[in-house]
């Protein structure tokens, strides 16, 4: 039976740069809630973001993992400069990488 820590590690291993917070929603080891932050989500629709996470678990979703509730986001301020950083260094008012929302 998967646990929250295992799910967190698998998400972070599979999606480069991802940070996941996972909790066992009911304490029963089969309903989990995850918040995943990853630069890889930038520019993708929410559907695509969630699919990326679901793909980590394949057929386990709906099986041993009865439910995985997701909230996905791209980082507001990437810890390192993103490869395609657009904001000029002088502009403090510039928004970070726009969220797909």
């Amino acid at each position: 039976m998967p646990n929250a820590e295992e799910i967190k590690q698998r998400i972070e291993a599979a999606i480069p740069g991802a940070q996941a917070e996972v909790e066992d929603w009911t304490g029963g080891g089969d309903h989990f809630k995850a918040t995943v932050t990853a630069a890889a989500f930038a520019g993708r629709s929410r559907i695509e973001q969630h699919r990326l996470v679901y793909e980590v678990f394949g057929a386990e979703i709906g099986g041993p993992i009865h439910a995985l509730s997701l909230k996905t986001q791209s980082p507001a301020w990437p810890p390192s400069t993103p490869p395609q950083a657009r904001q000029p260094p002088t502009s403090g008012a510039q928004s970070p990488e726009p969220s797909p929302q």
Binding site: T35, H50, R51, Y54, I61, A67, L68
Partner: protein, 137 residues
């Protein structure tokens, strides 16, 4: 023989998605949802007074198999609007809170108003959870 049946189910699902502007595939029925996630999604649609068709996936496991094959989405519920997958429960609830769901559905934006009245910002990931958590099977 079973392949033919499965193809028929596949086609029927595809047609249903095409033919209904808003269609929800869920566990149970809108009046008697059989899963907390389906219940929440129905509640969001009903709060916006959005008309929608509903399909119960539970009577035949092949409905779910074929639906997921079409949508490339593993979980139930699944909401389609104008032939496109909008999302499952999490996305629908996020969109409900932001008012985006009302926009997508072309109905009044009552959802956004309601969402702002939610007492606890920190719980915004899963509003209404406390009322229905017991129903999560």
């Amino acid at each position: 023989m079973s392949d033919t049946d499965q193809n028929q189910i596949h086609d029927a699902i595809g047609q249903a998605i095409e033919q209904h502007e808003t269609i929800l595939f869920m566990k149970g029925t809108p009046d008697a949802p059989a899963c907390g996630f389906s219940a929440r999604t129905v509640a969001a649609l009903q709060a916006l007074e959005a008309p929608f068709a509903a399909v119960d996936v539970l009577p035949d496991p092949r409905i779910r198999e074929e639906l997921s094959a079409i949508s490339q989405w593993p979980t139930i519920p699944q909401l389609f609007v104008r032939g496109e997958l909008v999302g499952g429960c999490d996305i629908v609830m996020e969109m409900y809170e932001s008012g985006e769901l009302a926009q997508t559905l072309g109905v009044g934006d009552g959802g956004a108003e309601d969402a702002h009245e939610l007492p606890d910002e920190a719980e915004a990931v899963a509003p209404g959870l406390t009322q229905i958590e017991n129903r999560l099977g």
